[in-house]
Amino acid sequence: MSTDLIWRRRIGDLALRLGAVAVFFGLWWFVTDRGVWSEIVVPKPSSVWERFIQSVTVHDDVRGLSGYFLWEHLWASAWRLIRGVGWAIVIGIPLGLLLATSRPVRVVLEPVISFIRSLPPLAYFSLLIIWFGIEDASKVWLLFLAALAPIALSVISGVEGVRTDWVEAARSLGASRLQVVGHTLLPAILPELFTGLRLSIGFAFSTIVAAETVDGIPGIGGLAWSTKKFLQTDVAIMCVLVIGVCAVGIDLLIRTLERRLVPWKGRV
């Protein structure tokens, strides 16, 4: 495909997406203007915009919202997310590989993992607090637990789907069991791993409010949670939009990375 065509396609994509965003805002404006629903639940785009402006400025002697600028909230949450997802990757990939390659480990640990991943964070968060304190550690743990399962599970599923002759070839070329894992299984499951990673990050994002219900300021989820309790729905919606936009951005990034790192997907 010519570079020209690639660029034309990219611009087309962008136009389509911007169009979709415009439609979304148009609809939002329309229903709130009509007063279909109470402003407390569905605030106007304009009030959300005002909140956004407030959140990045000093107004009435107040810095941003709840004492922090938007980017401070965002960074606090992002740093928690990075650690949570980071640990999930660091632990989840070896764990998944171990589970997929060792039967006794799988028999015991797979149910444990499906147990843990089904537990509602809201119900066990206080356990994390008593173990890891009310500070960031418990939040990072919660995000880690949310992010772990998709990664571990996709590794397991990926390994199960790896062509046996790839593994056999590696073994008979002199790869040790460990080398098979590192040099054959790991690259072979990259497509699944990327899906797992995307799901994992999405889960972590959607858990950010639950993680920040306790001592969550600064934090974009904590801000959403506390302002929602105060019926400042416009702030909460702004936070939700910010969370969503960040998540979409990261997702597109991962997709691009995937296309670069797994060019053979669907071609073998």
Partner: protein, 282 residues
């Protein structure tokens, strides 16, 4: 040109590559509970440095046999020994060229060929030399940096061949390695393989559908019956150990006669084929 692979690599097990199969059988269990008797019973003793060519009808158990020797599967009955040790898993001593191409798509052609060397910690410079040599051997030096899925089927099979030979195993197991190649490339690779084998005297098990190829390359040709595969003929051959090659061998009346004889072994076997009873009268 020096013999490929000489650059530094010594065979992983220089001697002791004798192959002994005793009462080997393989049965497969299907999901529906039925059992397929794929192979055997089979007894076989292949001395060090033999070039064993195996021919037999499609589905008779040739690949199954190879997989047993490779250590990818355990026989349902009997035992497989290589160099006096019971085979209980794959080993770099036994290099395998698979029937289907199975290169790693995340590696370039050169990296695929280097795979075994890298796993065995051959230093980078040496590795590079060996890889270059073997890519030239299979005529693919110019696609070294491409990805396998950008190659034709025949090219992929040649890369697989290079990958195994570069690793210099003491036993080489090859499952129809040249089936996807044109006659010229095929003949050239046959001669190269012969040259390598003559230099290193590794034990080779070579599955082929070409009786010509079997007689040209083998020191011994095994003819198998239809499933369950057993040995219907087992003939020693001498052309590959002579110092002749190419048309000089192929036009040799002795060669033509042996080829004819082995083909004849295959023919009756064909008629017994239980898979096609209706064909018997044809």
């Amino acid at each position: 040109m020096s013999a490929p692979g000489l650059a530094g690599l010594t065979p992983s097990a220089p001697t002791a590559s004798r192959l002994v199969l005793t009462g080997v059988e393989q049965r497969f269990r299907a999901k529906d509970g039925s059992t397929t008797h794929a192979l055997g019973p089979l007894d076989l003793d292949v001395v060090d440095g033999s070039f064993l060519a195996v021919v037999g009808p499609s589905g008779c158990g040739k690949s199954t046999l190879l997989r047993l020797v490779a250590g990818f599967a355990q026989p349902t009955a009997g035992s497989v020994e290589v160099g006096g040790r019971v085979v209980d898993g794959p080993s770099p001593d036994r290099g395998v060229v698979f029937q289907q191409p199975n290169l790693y798509p995340w590696l370039s052609v050169a990296e695929n060929v280097a795979f075994g060397l890298k796993m065995r910690h051959v230093p980078r410079a040496e590795r590079r030399a060996i890889v270059a040599e073997h890519l030239e051997l299979v005529g693919l030096a110019d696609v070294a940096s491409r990805r396998p899925y950008e190659l034709s089927g025949g090219m992929q099979q040649r890369v697989q061949l290079a990958r195994v030979l570069a690793n210099r195993p003491s036993v080489v197991l090859m499952d129809e390695p040249f089936a996807a190649l044109d006659a010229i490339t095929r003949e050239r690779l046959q001669d190269e393989l012969l040259r390598i084998w003559r230099t290193h005297r590794t034990t080779v098990v070579f599955i082929t559908h070409s009786v010509d190829e079997a007689v040209y390359l083998g020191t011994r040709v095994l003819v198998m019956s239809p499933r369950p595969g057993t040995i219907v003929a087992d003939e020693p051959v001498t052309f590959s150990t002579s110092d002749q090659a190419g048309d000089a061998v192929r036009d040799d009346p002795a060669f033509i006669e042996q080829r004819r004889r082995i083909s004849a072994h295959l023919r009756p076997a064909r008629n017994q084929n239980p898979q096609n009873p209706q064909k018997e009268s044809a």
